[in-house]
């Protein structure tokens, strides 16, 4: 009974993601499941909590859908980057807003290379856009407010979702929909934790929904 209920929830979740996710292809499938924190706990409250998990599929083939034309958005409001974690496909443009009355700056630190980029400082109500053309984690800072930080995870393909760990159960449901048939690697990004057993290879056939639970550990 529980399994049936869970299956139904997965289906609903997959449908929800599919309706707002990447363009649907005939025969697209989905990967869904539960992300659970293993043998530790993470803080899930506050502006800089550890609740966000990016679950993503990396295609093993070079054939990847183009980035979306729609811009993603990151705001700066109340001296906080909103959202704290943002996942985008390579080539996506992100609009950086300033909803405060103060000046804000946006400064990127590429986690893998240490390269930095200052895209400027702007005032209330202004927006500056930036296109991310390289994969990897981009730590986003404001030089004027040292405590402000966000994480932008730039991924090769559009097959990802952002799950939020529940503080009590220390787990989250995830569903990546609209995935074309093919071979992938399932992986996660979290500020603090890794996949307990490392990335998983996934083969998806047309219209298939795979159920894969993920354990996160230190």
């Amino acid at each position: 009974m529980k399994k049936a209920l869970f299956g139904l929830l997965l289906a609903v979740a997959a449908w929800g993601v599919a309706s707002s996710g990447p363009a649907q292809l005939p025969g697209a499938g989905a990967v869904a499941g539960i992300v659970a924190v293993h043998k530790t706990r993470v803080k899930t409250t506050g502006n800089k909590s550890f609740k966000d998990v990016v679950v993503y599929l990396e295609p093993l083939s070079a054939d990847v859908a183009p980035p979306p034309a729609a811009h993603a958005v990151m705001d700066q409001r109340g001296l906080v980057f909103i959202p704290h974690v943002l996942a985008v496909q390579k080539g996506t443009t992100v609009d950086f807003l300033n909803s405060d009355n103060d000046r804000h700056n946006v400064y990127f630190l590429h986690d893998d290379t240490g390269q930095t980029l200052d895209i400027g400082t702007w005032g209330p109500g202004q927006t500056v856009s930036h296109t991310f053309d390289r994969t990897g984690l981009v730590i986003t800072l404001c030089q004027l407010h040292l405590e402000m930080a966000a994480h932008i995870v730039v991924l090769e393909a559009p097959y990802f979702t952002l799950a939020e760990i529940d503080g009590e159960s220390q787990s989250a449901r995830y569903a990546i929909a609209g995935v074309p048939p093919g071979d992938y690697t399932l992986n996660v990004w979290h500020k603090k934790l890794l996949m307990k057993d490392g990335a998983v290879r996934v083969s998806l056939s047309a219209g298939e929904t795979k159920n894969l639970n993920i354990a996160l550990s230190k």
Binding site: N47, N101, G120, T121, G125, H145, L146
Partner: protein, 479 residues
């Protein structure tokens, strides 16, 4: 020997001129907790504020759109709708949800550079401990208070004196007129309005305060003049008890008020009491002060929205705010001069005095330049001992530079000229001095600072005390 004793005695009250600072609780980490933000949101390197911090202070400890910034919800003492529904209801306000308390400590080592001090090395642990409270209550009221334990060694002397003083004020925001234009403050006023806005003791990187603000009219030494009491003019540019109106616009600000500068415990003397309120006088407030400033370029003084420079060419840092600013300060007051001589005769007279200053500050990227001059006149500071008035000129020039966000070297040259009367027994007429300060402030953390600073004097050779060349090492912590 007699000359030496006379000179030493007449300089006694100068002994501690540069050793005594006007304690100013201007560092308030409570706000970091309230807004969940770093100290550098409001400070270049505490206690010196940046443009955001200055606007926050002048708006009564509020940001524009304060609700958006605040991470701790205040306790409502009434919903605003009550007043709308019942106009005669008690006005609603709020209380901070936690006691808005901060603590600041200063630990100071002094190393004799000239071989003149009694002790070649002194360590003051602590030199100051401050407990500071301050916050906004609703939209219309803000408050501030501090209690400061102070410990001083008096030019490397063996005896370390300590005492506690306190300040407190209440400000009513936006009493009349447009926003921020007319605010009313009562209590220890002038905590930021006394002296030149561009050269304020509460806003400096140095270990000690400006000479132009801490000097006081030299007193006559009774023991060397046949007097039993000489109660002179104790005015210094310190915070004073009284009433103040202040306001701020995008490019201008003012603060003015009614105070009494004839204080019981001047900041350049060892206080008579182990605890006292700063700036309290036995006289009713009748002195006037006025501070004005005008800013050209840079961020608005009132924190109002300003479009930043071209986004893609901006090179921002939290301390940068390219601008020029001019400031004026004026003070008009009077003090009682009371003299008792050994024959039992008493005389009392008035010393009417004024101060008038002009300050300038320019900031370009990582460099800040400042200059100021403060003129003064006391028409009769020595009562029947001398009919001569005293003119004074104090000026200074300074520069500091952000080498890194955490390292700020600075240099300041200061000069004080006192046109003191000659022939007054117990008064050294030659007490002019120049001072150069060279140092650096290092931000070990946003809330932990260290200073390495050397002070060198070029004084009239007769001054024997209080102006020794010294190397200071300061550790300054706020939490």
């Amino acid at each position: 020997m007699k000359i030496f004793a006379r000179l030493a005695g007449s300089a006694a009250l100068f002994t501690v001129l540069w050793l005594l600072s006007v304690p100013e609780g201007s560092t308030m980490p409570h706000f970091s907790r309230k807004y969940r933000t770093s100290c550098v949101t409001c400070h270049e390197a505490f206690p010196k504020r940046n443009a955001v911090g200055e606007a926050f202070r002048m708006r009564g400890f509020r940001f524009v759109d304060d609700d958006t910034y605040r991470k701790q919800e205040p306790v409502e003492l009434g919903d605003p709708a009550y007043r709308r529904l019942w106009p005669h209801a008690i006005s609603p306000t709020t209380l901070p949800d936690r006691i808005p308390m901060s603590f600041v400590g200063r630990f100071l080592a002094e190393i004799d550079l000239g071989g003149d001090r009694e002790e070649s090395f002194t360590f003051l642990f602590p030199e100051e401990l401050e407990m500071v409270v301050g916050d906004a209550m609703g939209e219309k009221i803000s408050f501030y208070g501090d209690v400061i334990y102070i410990s001083k060694d008096f030019a490397g002397g063996e005896v370390i004196e300590s005492w506690i003083n306190a300040k407190a004020w209440l400000q009513f925001q936006n009493v009349i007129g447009p926003e921020n234009v007319f605010n009313l403050k009562v209590g220890t006023v002038g905590t930021n309005g006394m002296g030149l806005y561009t050269a304020r003791d509460a806003n400096t990187f140095t270990t000690h305060f400006y000479q132009y603000s801490t000097w006081g009219m030299p007193a006559v030494n009774p023991a060397l003049s046949g007097l039993t009491v000489f109660d002179g003019n104790d005015f210094t540019l310190q915070p004073l008890a009284g009433i103040e109106v202040n306001g701020v616009g995008q490019r201008w600000l003012y603060a003015g008020g009614l105070v009494s500068g004839d204080v019981i415990n001047p900041v350049n003397e060892i206080p008579e009491d182990s605890f006292y309120m700063v700036g309290v006088s036995e006289k009713a407030p009748s002195d006037l002060f006025l501070q004005l400033a005008y800013k050209i370029g840079g961020l608005p003084l009132d924190g109002s929205a300003a479009k930043a420079e071209s986004p893609l060419s901006a090179d921002p840092e939290f301390w940068r705010d390219d601008h020029c600013m001019v400031s004026l300060f004026g003070y008009l007051g009077s003090a009682d001069i009371v003299i008792h001589d050994s024959a039992g005769l008493t005389s009392q007279s008035e010393d009417d005095f004024w101060r008038l200053g002009l300050g300038f500050q320019a900031k370009y990227k990582d460099l800040t330049l400042g200059a100021a001059v403060m003129l003064g006149n006391n028409d009769n500071p020595y009562g029947r001992l001398s009919p001569q008035s005293v003119d004074t000129t104090a000026w200074m020039a300074e520069a500091y530079y952000f080498v890194y966000p955490w390292l700020i070297p600075y240099v300041r040259y200061e000069s004080l000229d006192l046109d003191l009367p000659s022939g007054v027994a117990g008064l050294n007429p030659n007490q002019d001095r120049d001072r150069i300060i060279v140092g650096a402030r290092a931000a070990i953390r946003p809330n932990i600072m260290a200073n390495l600073e050397a002070s060198f004097y070029n004084e009239d050779e007769e001054i024997e005390q209080g102006v020794y060349d010294t190397l200071f090492v300061l550790l300054h912590i706020a939490f």
